[in-house]
Symmetry: C2
Subunit: 156 residues, 2 copies
DNA sequence: ATAACTGCAAATCATTTGCAGATTC
DNA sequence: GAATCTGCAAATGATTTGCAGTTAT
């Protein structure tokens, strides 16, 4: 699958397929985590008792992003992670809880309509949209409400 | 305006109003740039021949974000910038050219509808949305098209 | 064979921290 | 006057780079 895409892209660029590049790609294919930082990729490879250097991970992950196999995502706190680019592109949006920090993906139609509108309005040719919703997840809403009540009865 | 908000927030927190905190706030009030990094704030203050240290800028900008006067934005390339929080919140979206890197703001209605839908779908209480469109601006579309034509006639 | 790749260690860059002296309330 | 700030310089942490040796084509 992605292996082959990588191989042919590398050929086009006169670059080489190496064990390390396979390892990094495999780390993404094997994990069930949504995103991986370079550090996490590095550890995942080491766990399998296979050798790689951090510098190579950084270089490889960047290469895979250039080629379009990975997408680079800079999180709100500045941490850089990568994820496999999938088919269902514009349908996965992120929603992040400001309280507990948990992030969830969910899909939302309507995004295509939004893109069309933005293209018409600006003349851009849009090929990617990132939507991030920030707010309170249901659990934190509840928890905060509980705390609020307890505090009120204690202090008033 | 923001000065007063800051003053009273500081009082609540038993913190102090200082010359440096005013300077940083003023940097945001005075600039016409959309966002400023800490580095940029630092330089803006120095330009006015006023003294401040980088460490203080980092600390102050973080404080202003906590207080809600600034919003921290981590850009796609990992650069951290801040902007004044304004009223017209959810209406300014960003559109960024992948080619020349220019970024524009523009407003788009429909966003409220999108928020409602997302809230219903996830149970979150959403208080902020960031939408970033990535694509090609009109100029780059033209330029690339011109280049493509020139290259084709040369090589075929 | 040779151009591309890797690992290592040193370099860089943004941000953070510890602390002594300055400042605000 | 005491707690809070600031500036400085050193520390940190993530990423990048230079280079000599290794590997894929």
């Amino acid at each position: 699958m992605q292996q082959d895409v990588l191989r042919s892209e590398l050929r086009r660029r006169k670059q080489r397929m190496t064990a390390q590049r396979e390892l990094v790609l495999k780390a993404f294919a094997d994990t069930d985590a949504e995103h991986l930082s370079s550090e996490e990729v590095y550890r995942k490879v080491l766990e399998k008792r296979l050798r790689i250097s951090k510098a190579t991970v950084f270089r490889t992950v960047e290469l895979l992003a250039e080629v379009g196999i990975l997408r680079k995502i800079v999180f709100r706190d500045g941490i850089v992670r990568y994820e496999l680019v999938e088919e269902n592109e514009n349908e996965d949006q992120q929603i992040i809880c400001n309280q507990c920090g948990k992030a969830f993906d969910f899909s939302l139609d309507k995004v295509d309509a939004l893109i069309k509108k933005a293209e018409k309005k600006t003349g851009f040719k849009i090929d990617e949209v990132q939507i991030k919703f920030y707010g309170l997840c249901p659990e934190c809403q509840e928890r905060l409400e509980r705390i609020r009540k307890a505090t009120n009865s204690a202090h008033i």
